[in-house]
Subunit: 478 residues, 4 copies
């Protein structure tokens, strides 16, 4: 028996004691949405709260100005809790509405609920700290303030710098519309800018003198689309054209740029595929008599699930029960479902559970552990942590069922009571599971053995090369 | 003998009398560069000057807010003088330098010398008016204030509205680095936005649900590149991608847009080719399960040269002689040539005359009339006027030899004394030729016969459809 | 208990009694390899054998000259056994060698073992007939002589004609390198020629007059490659270019042709995808000013597995045991493995069983039924039968482990003793399972209920349109 | 005065004396059409005739089995006469019909009139020989039997071997529908096979393992179509796909091949453009993870016109007058014009002369020398000779006006009396001009000076690399 009933009640009490403060923290961050690598105020707010709790703060870790670690306790085992707080562009939205209404048009908004994510994770860390300190358990808890999950992969840079080395288990969560333990792996990804330089010329008078960089961008895309047939079905390659070389049709475009993401269930496969994409870029340059440079913008490893930790966490969630939604929560959820969510949204979100959940608006149950591990067709920098340390994640119902990520519909629910309840449940799930690990080091040993088996003993290798800094990426070629 | 020696001296005297005022007008417009269709102040400055001279002003002609006509006299023959005054984006430059230094970075600048063009044309119109009024010659002179030559084709809209109907001959000029009569035809052109709508989707999680508008833009470009082999060699099709559907590679692009120019030596051929381009766009939409809309942005007819008028103008220019450049003019020209112009610039500008001109920095001669008509691989809205009324143009040396159009090198010379001298010569060339036509209506009759032969009796048909307004083009799809 | 032990021994005895005759039949067909729809002699050989056994023969069924049905018995239940006998181009090979040596260079060969397939199926039908006749069981057995599995889908034409309507269960098998019951579904497929007509012209003198049909073929392919990102991962679209319009680069190609296969796990999805491919073809025609016609060449439905029948068949195979290979069989298998088969061949063939099977050369066991149904990334016209009647298939070890389909390595083993042993096991597996169904109609009822659930009550609809005949497909456009 | 009246009458007499024999030779070759490099019998027939006349024969010159030179006389000046005799595939046609009727379907035919070309050239050589021998003029005449003008460039191989070195002037002609002197230059050309190797795989089961050589061929074509905008308008690049890797859509194509022609008015430009095409091929290989090899198949230089020789030839043709067509010639010409030639054919053939010639069916006049040299948008291996020695060509009316080259309409007229008359006129034009040169070496000096000016002193460099043999080209990759 690995879960400890006493432990659970104790942790619940400690989380409840400080829940209001951290819900308020979440709401403050909701009102100051900051984009990736620019989370100056959100990061500072978190640091202030954790310093007050007696955590030792190390700032600017891994070369990232808004990354920090807050540590309490000493000696092993060491538990890591991962928090995020970055927002998304263009998603500003008034709270508590059932229609789209930006606070400021075009401004950022917390479209992925990272205000809740970081605050709930910090709340879990604080509860563990309180338990460690009260109960005299040996061990250390570290809260990682992780910037730029949405764009850039803050944790990947942090992992490259070794800041996760030496911890024993790690936990995180994500706000969602259902409650459950995360069992899926994700796609490893590598991203890069491809920048082509040609020669400008008047497109009517002397097109034969020009060498079109836009042609090169297009031919690279054609080449990649031809490659699709000859890559594994579960890999993904997608792109955006970030500079077309100008709006004037009468000038042969001397400069053009695209950005690519290459993804695969296993990082080495993603890297091999990325090499093929680079060859296609070189081919496009050869075809157009232009030159190309490649700038890696980031990358992250696939998540390695850890069934040992998942099972402990699942048992805790089963005991904790769902969030305790009230009449007002249901009423608003029903309204936004009616006004702004479709059946397709619900299907897209809950998948196989559609038949059971389609009539419900808030998830007041726990999704079962699925029979076999799937691959989520997305990527997260939690993946890099999961290659270094056994990692588990849960998700909890913070929003009406069917609310898609990265939408105003999510932003408008991001500081409502239902969201707070989901966040508090997540804090409890993480903290109880962490406490189980601290009290029962055998869990940690088994979790580590599973990790070793999954990596096949392969050392973590960061997909972002040593010389890449997120602060250099904005500077484009002329 | 169609040129009249007395007339020439008389016109020279009248132009000289007011040259300083119109050079000052040109300098004022140089300092307030305004983009196509936004020439509010430049247009107002011109109107003020011409009203003061007693011209009757009609504003906002052809539905263009900054277009106007200034008329003097009554009855036929009617002479039209065409002036322009729009600037170009991003070409702001301090005057009189031999290095690139913007006044305001990214601001517009008079990179095609239209400050000189409009002011010199107005000066010609005023001199003709003075001659008409002083000498009691029958006839009318009209100055056309023509916006948006650079982008949009102001004269084409004006021609569509019939404002050039009924005039007998028309004249214009262009600032250049050499002196001569313009004998080449140009390319007719049709331009349009192609706007594709697809369906957004997460590019990793559900790419199969998305329909990429960016794919459609790319496939249209591929299709057009395949068409190149199967269109006449002297036609031109070129494009820019004006909206790529966003910078995020992980979103299937739901909207994308490109702008195309289609050109050919004859308008009907350009229109036929444009129909093929539209079919390619439809094909790209079919291929990608997206929809496409086409918005014509403008167009212009090819210039029909008029040898009758060219010969009269050439003889006048021969008698007028080149601009009277002084030591300071040569000195600056030598400096900018050395600092900022290359042999290739000179070659590109003077072509076959390279051998004779390569050692010179200012053109103090007159280029001979070439043996056979060529096609300039560019387009101008003077073309539309030339289909309605016999039209002739000259160019005069305002800049150091080799100065390319649309560069800071041209802007920096645009209000120097040498530019003024070239402008005044152009005013004299146009005014003397116009005076010859007024005094000798047989010239007009022959010029009209030539026009009729060239059109084959085909009525002018405007390449811009009736419902297109330049003010609608900015409004893009979402 | 659905399998009947007495029945099994009885059937084994009957199969053994005639096994030698049908092995000889298989060997005769091996020596006369005939391509799809041209199986005149192979079909006649089979008919002769079955007529001799007292089957009633109906020839040329479903409009296919080499298709036939051989029936015995009367009344229900009706059991169908499906046999094939077509060969593959270019695979002629001397028997019993471990190196490539064609009998006649470029001639056809039985590269997919259909000589065994048809003969083994006929042997099963004869054994069932003997059982029916000896034991007085009510029911009918039908052997279907099915041409053109490799290219064209004989059974699909036969299904279109209704020849499988009214039968209760159907069985087939395929020669392989392992023993097991087939549990996977397959891909539904639709195939078509796309024929483009343009206009010829001299490619140097007047390319602008030409309209290239080859351009259209290429642009269609480009369009399809762009579509790949936006179709389900498990779908397949592939093509060959079957006419490039000639070998002369100096002629604009006036005619060109490609052939496409579109596949998906569900026929309606394949058909929807095929519509998109047709739209891409239309788009390519629009882009190139050519015209396109589409000729469907065939298609087949996905296989609907039937677990009820699979389980009965599996139990029979478990009782029957593997083929009884002797020392000579092992020796040859070891030699060909060493000389002409690689580890990759073995991996490709046995997949997850590689670890257990990599050291073995002949499969003398039975593969377990897999936990979940997979999709084989291939297509078979057995799919169409499986939509009409509950159908089960087995495969048996006829060749050395790792022998790939469609290779000379398979041809050379196609008439060896090991192949005969595998074929006889397959006949027993089918015949015992058919006998179980005849004696225990409840199996049939449950199998039909499963079929109904899988189709969702959807009627079988043939993917080949009514007007398409396999004999028209050779006649190409000029 | 460079033309010699006595000479002309003398030559006319000599040509007439042997005209019937060489018309019969032409008719024999018409009946035995042989393709490029396979002109065994046609070459032998010519050799027999010339040996009989006392020419010294050297066979298999320049490494070409069917190439030969026949020489008479000794010492300078040396006159070269160029003859051809290869036929075209698929153009077999019954003689003297006004409808398409092949002698043997798909068999070759003399669709470019090379039966006449070689026989007429030989007749000219014989007449010159007779004049040399009769009149005791110093000098040598050489007849060059030149294979493979249509496909492969026999003269280019011969030029590479130096067989034209040291001669003073060269003449040739081409059968046509009008009479005139050839004044145009042609396009230089380089041709090559591009062969891509990838890796086969099953296109449904394991497309990700395959590397498609057909993809590479297609992407190379896409790349070239993108290059078109950025190459000179008068250049040409065209291709055919000569191996698509098979007709089976379910196999990833492991091998594919295309053939390219690259042309430009100047050989160095063609070679530079060819380098760009090679880079595009390399780019396509990089894009598809395939490899590419390039095999040059041939090439030829642009024709350098020689005005000095043209003028002498023109004056001779003026004096000779047109062919003396009779009533029967006109009648058949009228019939075939009505039945099988269109106005567009006539326009395409006679261009600017359409207005004057559209009502006529046989050309009984001489086209004037055009005011300026044009470029014929085709290529001929006469170009290589013209870089080594001053060369002139005429064309004469052998066919009804409007008869296109490379058609059955031309074949059917190829042995009729009108064709004979045209051929005899051509022999006279060449022989008289050659005689003028021999008698008046100043013409040769001036012609050589012109050649030197045109080449700018550049040595002839053969566009076909030293190691390429026409006999190796058939051997393709597997």
């Amino acid at each position: 028996m690995q879960n400890d009933a006493l432990s659970l009640d104790e942790i619940v009490r400690r989380v409840n004691a400080k829940a209001a403060d951290y819900c308020a923290l979440s709401d403050r961050i909701w009102t100051m949405p900051e984009l990736a690598f620019e989370e100056w105020r959100s990061s500072a707010e978190q640091i202030t709260m954790l310093e007050r709790e007696g955590f030792r703060i190390t700032k600017e870790i891994g070369g990232i100005a808004t990354a920090f670690v807050a540590e309490y306790g000493s000696g092993g085992p060491i538990v890591g809790i991962l928090g995020e707080f970055d927002a998304l562009p263009g998603l500003a939205q008034v709270s508590g509405l059932t229609e789209h209404q930006p606070t400021i048009k075009g401004a950022p908004g917390h479209g992925c609920g990272h205000n809740l994510l970081g605050s709930g994770a910090a709340l879990a860390a604080v509860a563990i700290k309180d338990a460690l300190s009260a109960e005299g358990i040996a061990g250390t808890v570290r809260y990682y303030g992780c910037p730029a999950e949405e764009a850039g992969g803050g944790k990947t840079y942090m992992a490259r710098a070794g800041v996760f080395d030496g911890i024993d288990v790690a936990f995180s969560w994500h706000p969602a519309d259902v409650n459950g333990v995360s069992t899926q792996s994700t796609l490893a990804t590598v991203g890069a800018y491809f920048r082509f330089k040609g020669r400008a010329s008047h497109a009517a008078a002397s097109p034969h003198v020009g060498r079109s960089a836009l042609d090169a961008v297009e031919l690279m895309n054609v080449g990649v689309n031809y490659m699709r047939e000859h890559m594994p079905s579960e890999a993904r390659v997608h792109y955006a054209v970030t500079d077309t070389g100008g709006d004037a049709p009468n000038v042969v475009q001397a400069y053009a740029e695209s950005i690519y993401s290459v993804r695969s269930p296993h990082l080495p496969d993603a890297e091999r595929l990325f090499e093929r994409v680079k060859n296609i870029a070189k081919g496009a340059a050869l075809m157009t008599d232009t030159s190309v440079t490649v700038q890696i913008t980031g990358g992250c490893s696939n998540v390695l699930p850890n069934v040992v930790l998942q099972e402990v966490m699942y048992e805790n969630m089963r005991r904790l029960g769902p969030p305790d939604f009230d009449h007002a929560d249901y009423t608003f959820a029903r309204e936004i479902r009616k006004a702004a969510l479709t059946n397709d949204d619900v299907k897209a979100s809950v998948g196989l559970h559609y038949v059971t959940l389609k009539e419900r608006v808030l998830h007041d149950a726990l999704l079962p552990m699925p029979a076999h591990e799937g691959v989520s067709m997305g990527s997260t920098d939690v993946g890099d942590v999961s290659w270094i340390v056994p990692t588990a994640q849960c998700y909890t119902a913070c929003f009406a069922i069917g609310t898609p990520l990265h939408t105003w519909q999510l932003v408008t629910q991001g500081n409502l009571p239902a969201a707070h309840k989901g966040m508090v449940l997540a804090a409890k799930s993480m903290a109880t599971t962490a406490a189980d690990c601290l009290r029962n080091p055998a869990i940690i040993a088994r979790a580590k053995a599973e990790l070793k088996e999954r990596t096949g003993g392969r050392e973590y290798r960061c997909p972002i090369p040593p010389n890449v800094s997120p602060y250099d990426l904005r500077a484009k070629a002329p």
